[in-house]
């Protein structure tokens, strides 16, 4: 039997893996098995990974660096303790962690509770991006009256967002998203302004 990878040498390493109830068999020669890292004499890397213990090997893949820039935690520390150093480690080691989290949990995105402070920001961002999409569509379809209304609502939301950021220290992540949303919105708004000028649609009404 030949190696599944190089297809030239005799396979000596047989790997059987059960993935979501289906059995997968891989036959490798010694050279290829070393290259793929399946010749680990302890042989438990796979099982460890599935059980969430071998995270250290996963993190090894992270090319960005071996340490968290915020707390200085290293992948070796993780290997030793199975715990991370600080919340920023989740971003620092994101690449390696994502595969591990996928194996460990039933999904990769949190769908549960959100702290109230962040809930408003998250909802507003969602609304903003929806409004922007509608605005773009309205401009394309030359529905300028509607575009003007949408533009006003976007401006109002943005003002709220600014006011709140000044008051409370929102999470940097939320701010970053808001900033991206705003910059993309302003170009669309400029476009809408331009178009409404041409057609003589009145400027935003204060009492609307």
């Amino acid at each position: 039997m030949f190696c599944d990878v190089c297809k030239s040498k005799e396979a000596t390493v047989f790997l059987t893996q059960i993935v979501e109830g289906k059995m997968q068999k891989v036959n490798l020669c010694e050279g290829c098995s070393k290259e793929k890292g399946v010749n680990d004499p302890t042989g438990f890397a796979l099982a460890d990974l599935l059980l969430g213990l071998g995270a250290a090997q996963e993190i090894d893949k992270n090319p960005a660096g071996n340490r968290c820039p915020v707390c200085g935690f290293s992948q070796a520390d993780f290997k030793k303790t199975g715990r991370l150093g600080c919340s920023a480690c989740y971003d620092a080691f994101a690449e390696g962690l994502s595969g591990m989290l996928k194996n460990m949990h039933r999904g990769s995105v949190h769908t549960g509770k959100v702290p109230a402070k962040l809930r408003v920001g998250r909802l507003r961002n969602k609304e903003l991006s929806e409004l922007q999409a509608s605005l773009q569509k309205a401009v394309q379809e030359e529905q300028f009256e509607e575009a003007a209304t949408l533009r006003d609502r976007i401006r109002k939301l943005e003002e709220e967002s600014y006011a709140e950021t000044a008051l409370t220290q929102e999470s940097t992540e939320v701010n970053r998203i808001a900033a991206v949303a705003q910059s993309s919105a302003s170009s669309v708004i400029a476009e809408a302004d331009e178009a409404s000028k041409k057609l003589g649609v009145p400027k935003p009404r204060k009492n609307s």
């Binding site: 935690f73 600080c86 989740y90 949990h105 999904g107 949190h110 549960g112």
Partner: protein
Amino acid sequence: MKLSRIIANTGEWLSGSGPHDQIVVSSRVRLARNLKGKPFPGWAKKAERVAVLEEVRTAVEQLPEMEESFSEKLDDLSALEKQVLVERHLISREHAAKGAGSAVVMNTAQTLSFMINEEDHLRMQAIRAGLQLDQVFAMINQADSELEDSLDFAFHNDLGYLTACPTNVGTGMRASAMMHLPGLVMSEQVNKIINSVNKIGLAVRGLHGEGTEAMGNLFQVSNQTTLGETEEEIIGRLNKVIFQILEHEQNARQILLQQRAETLLDQIGRAYGILCHAHSITSKEALNLLSFIKMGVDLGLFPSNNRLHVDELFIETQPAHLQKGLQVTKLGAEERDSLRAALIRAKLKQMPEPEIGKIPTNGSTTTSNTSETSEES
């Protein structure tokens, strides 16, 4: 309030009642939270841990539900006091091992407890008797929402609540029920159940959680995963499985009654005999025998007003509880074993012998009707 005053009373989860509390001893939900921008306790320097402790402890003590509470730094508690809290499931074994920079805050009813600087900055739990995961979740969820006003928790847009261990990320929630399953153990079905529960992403563990032995036929069923589902979905899934296990346990007891009544009576009778007359007994043996007595109460072999005595013995015979009333230095294992035997003898004195006539023996008229009435719902 002093700890001795709190532990003089058994907690609500032991003395109180709740749905299906014959088989589901208690329900518990814990949430893991960390402060934004602060290193996790395991990686933080002592000064950082102390600063987090002060901030979190102040916030927790000000919660309206913690008006009557006990709050103490772990290095101000004796080893024995910490062990008492572990035996009552109010702090974890890991937390008990912590010294400077860690603390515990709990209410007097012992339904809410907050571990500060365990593996995460804050681990808070609600525990009550019987099967009521929804209610305990509501309790702890409210405390969490109230704490948000004064504490900024580390939260990631995609990953949710961030925790020191990636196995808790997302909801940071571990919901569990402690189940008493002597029927499934006796009929050798429990391993089958454990395996099938493990396959669907839930865990079955021993008395004190991860890595502990199942003693006294007590098992903890809990969720394994925390990311990708809402808190309600996780609890819903867990509830369904707990109900199934509950049903299997009831069925197993019925089948034992109908097909192996002699064995069952023999086990209960022997347990009663040993417990009433032993002069030295280890905590493991005591728990395993008490489990049969507890089942005997469920089956009506003992008067039901003995239930609390038996349930209390599960906790009172644990090593630290045995010694808590005594003003002595740590007892040796042998001294504990004889003290334990004396305590059990004294408590069981009030309890009459099992009434064999109360259950239908092998081959007699075991209609489904009588078996249903003996199995209290």
